[in-house]
Symmetry: C2
Subunit: 363 residues, 2 copies
Amino acid sequence: MSSSRRATIGDVARRAGVSKATVSLACSGKRPVSEATRQRVFEAAEHLEWTASESARALATSRTATIGLVLARSPEVISTDPFFPRFIAGCESVLAEAGMGLLLSVVATEEDETAVYRRYATGRVDGVILLDVQTEDRRPALMRELGLPAVLLAPSPAAAGLDGADFGNVRDKSEDEGETTAFPVVLAENAPAIRDLVNLLAEAGHRRIAHVSGPLRYVHATERRNAFEAAMLEHGLDPSLVVDGDFTAASGRSCTLDLLDREPRPTAIVYANDVMAIAGLSLARSRGLLIPEQLSLTGFDDSDLAAHLSPGLSSVSTRADEVGATTARTLLGTLAGIAIPVTRVAGPTVIARGSIGPPPDLD
Amino acid sequence: MSSSRRATIGDVARRAGVSKATVSLACSGKRPVSEATRQRVFEAAEHLEWTASESARALATSRTATIGLVLARSPEVISTDPFFPRFIAGCESVLAEAGMGLLLSVVATEEDETAVYRRYATGRVDGVILLDVQTEDRRPALMRELGLPAVLLAPSPAAAGLDGADFGNVRDKSEDEGETTAFPVVLAENAPAIRDLVNLLAEAGHRRIAHVSGPLRYVHATERRNAFEAAMLEHGLDPSLVVDGDFTAASGRSCTLDLLDREPRPTAIVYANDVMAIAGLSLARSRGLLIPEQLSLTGFDDSDLAAHLSPGLSSVSTRADEVGATTARTLLGTLAGIAIPVTRVAGPTVIARGSIGPPPDLD
DNA sequence: CTGAAAGCGCTTACAG
DNA sequence: CTGAAAGCGCTTACAG
């Protein structure tokens, strides 16, 4: 019958015949230890199945080895958006390697969100990742108030406040060191992919191309819409066929309903995400439209479904896992004192599938 | 210029003119404190913006106020399955109220999974939730070895080892207290909903009904398949039209391809999840089949898309958020010493939509 | 009802 | 290269 109590560093020290300091040093490698001692310490640790208590270490070092992530979207979007799980998986791969954990919160209201960050700040996490940056985002200011290190994921330099626009991520001098206190930004640009999509459609001959946007309070949704409009203008096309969706299937359906009733109706629709596009595709088909012969459609996110619909849904791969990994790495760097102001990740890329074709002869 | 250092319980005690013990007791309410003292303590705490450091509390109480959840599915399924995010949101709602956090891990291999649990056991979490129980699940034994409290989510009593079948969750006496060491189980039965689905189809006149299963190493997938077969037999129908999918869109597509090539082909297909059903629906349509006139389809999970396709996809609502809340509550109870062996939650319910109709006149 | 003190299990200057 | 000691910031018996 083994003793049920978990071993402590004291037990290991005793068994190895050394001090607790030596055990700690031998395991962390923070200072050299003679090979013989190291051996004894490791043998003892292994025998006693000892690993340092994370709580004790947290108290001693003021490091929690945990980072925080809060998701503040509607249940519909959270349950449906492939970006979050992939992003999280990407984070995890680098966090796990660094022995760090991810504390996840999903909140329904701004009030809850603030409460969560305040709890995070009571020694629960070392830093946070800020997703879904909004036009007037309260979070950077809150993070500063709470003294929580953070990194921002943004779809454009402007969105991250890097072009002088201020949404809280302003640069200012901290009195003691003269450093900037702006938060590091990971940049995953959305605009180029949207432009590529419009180019593809315009070159196929489409002239009436519509856009179903995401909720415009999110800078990435605004970015996509702006990119759509800019690309349309570049082709000399009317950029005004835009309806505002909210990333849910319901809005994808109703926006498509709206667009299909226009006279003349668009020959192509660029959706701000896959779920809306799939709902739209389904609706169009049920109206008797052939895809892509009578209507071309594109999504965004490259969800698992997109590739396996018939025809396949053209979409945009956001490489959410890579973005997650880079973001986590950037945060770890920040925590280690190596702050990289801006990290640009490989942008999203268009994946053309059967849902795009030439426009019908309408005239 | 406010002092940048975070206030400690000592600062609060000094300012309130009381001992640290009194501050602690006043805030936790674990022992009565005179109203006057209480006032002073609260005033001081508020003024100093003090909240107890979670790390220090963790060390003092051997409680981390954190529970762990590991997701061990393929990227495709994790990014696509609406159950996980909803379940997590449900957990969070009760955890937040209890001041607890959720440590989330997503792993790719069994090896990584084991490593994560071992790290959890080093004072990182107070307990874990075990999802996606498998037929020979290694985790209950591992949790016992690590001394990690756990609760299991299972789709049937048998799946939870409650009918004598042993998958690690055996009952045995702990020497000191004579209690059972089996893990509490939250029961969300899958079988009734599948039976309802088959009933619906059979009563509409279908006789050749097929099933596309999930990966059968998961007991919930097996449950659904078994329930399908049993229901078919109850109606005197051939239960052998089963093909094994794996919950991905790709498998939904290929399994449907397989089924549509059978001679005679099924007039209805019951899929083990929505993603496979949506891929199947899309394929069938592209083959020129009218839905539901020539083929009826049903999913499982009631993803956001299901309700907004055209026609809507009949599905099964699993109330993942309620299940998550109940599971979290059960775990908190266990940690508080109130172990409820089995908690039955309201089972999934069928939601009939346009994708179901009478069978075509084939003969 | 309240205070002084010990203790949770680590890490990290400080001496040697 | 190693040890003795202090300290991280709480909580909780133990006295009074």
